[in-house]
């Protein structure tokens, strides 16, 4: 089998096809960060374009962490989107696209309320809960991606979930 000599043994090159598998979760992550589906789609698209602009070799099983970091960079450069989020939170009933269509109605409702509640989190807490619960990174991967310690990630995750849970219970 032909092998790209530039690729280290335990790394692989990010291809458009492999990016596509991460698109749904990145879209939800972008939405959680900017609060608009249209903006989220633009942010993910721009992130993919940047990533594909030149060959990227990523350690296996770390595609999601890499893409999450790239997405955060893109979001940071479009701070206006994040600002709009805080002034215009999305009502839960406009979030039906956020869940897999096969989940039950109770869980779907919880998901919609949870996404809406994330608008009220501080940036560090929101970034943490997005990294772990939306993108699916491990604590360690999230810590690396957000440039902090694993213990801090767990503590922030606890507080973020507690705040979101309070919103769920209040409904």
């Amino acid at each position: 089998m032909a092998q790209d000599e530039r690729a280290p043994v335990d790394r692989h090159r990010l291809e458009p096809s492999s990016l596509a598998t991460h698109r749904p979760r990145l879209l939800r992550a972008a939405f959680a960060m900017c609060g608009s589906r249209e903006d989220a789609e633009d942010l993910v698209q721009e992130t993919f374009e940047r990533v594909l602009r030149r060959p990227r070799f990523v350690q296996r099983d770390r595609d999601a962490a890499y893409l999450m970091r790239a997405l955060r960079h893109t979001v940071a450069e479009h701070a206006g989107m994040a600002a709009r989020r805080r002034t215009a939170p999305v009502p839960p009933d406009e979030l039906d696209w956020i869940t897999d269509e096969r989940v039950g109605p109770e869980l779907a409702m919880d998901a919609q309320l949870a996404y809406a509640a994330m608008a009220g989190l501080s940036e560090p807490l929101r970034a943490t809960i997005v990294a772990v619960d939306v993108v699916g990174l491990t604590y360690k991967e999230a810590a690396r991606s957000l440039r902090t310690r694993t213990g801090t990630i767990m503590s922030r995750l606890y507080r973020a979930r507690q705040q979101v849970a309070e919103a769920l219970e209040a409904t």
């Binding site: 979760r25 096969r102 809960i129 767990m154 606890y158 849970a165």
Partner: protein, 247 residues
Amino acid sequence: MTEPRRLSKRDQAQLVQLADGMLTGPARTRAEARMRALPDGERLVERQRRVARALGAGEPRPTIAPAPASRARELFPRLLPAGAIAAMLVLLVLLMPGGERSTVEQAADLAQQSATRPAPAASGAVLRAEVEGVRFPEWGAEFGWHETGMRNDVLDGRRTTTVFYEHTGHRLAYTIVSGPALERPDGARVVRRDGLEIAFYRDPGHGGHDVAVFERNGRTCVIAGHVRKLDTLLKLAAWKGGGSVRS
């Protein structure tokens, strides 16, 4: 409602890990003891799980449509009364063992069945149960998934043994199929985890089972059931038990 008092960062970390099933062995025991010592500790952990479940609800999983129902419908006139169609479907299923579901899909369906025998005893990282030399893993110490029972079946002429595991109200069935390895289901997504190729998909039947299919020592293994995170299924499938669980 807010928690009665602010927890230390250490407590917060323990509760998060407990909620996510990340602790095993003595660390898990300590965290559970701490949780019980906290006012409303169990409720705090359940709140963590509720949010994690909700935010993980968008994770797409490949779905394989159930074959028999769709194919059978094509065989019968659309105007036939529903009752008559149902009766004919039952007859069809009886005449064609397993309908048109593949052996792998039938093995995944065993997750809906009850155990008929007690759980096998543990022997280190494996259980005292095997199919043609392939033994079942003992996940209790490492992951908190405890074996609760087992059953034996024959699917399409192949002997199968299934061990059931439970963890925090979730149930998984681990089936090993005798004979040469089976074809992976069409449409399943394949990932490589710790050197093991695992095909996974969601079966819309039974309320949406997650199914992982892989080979160990040339035999097909199928894990099916409900898990909060797909990663749990992949982690369990790939676990080698320090070399005791051969792949």
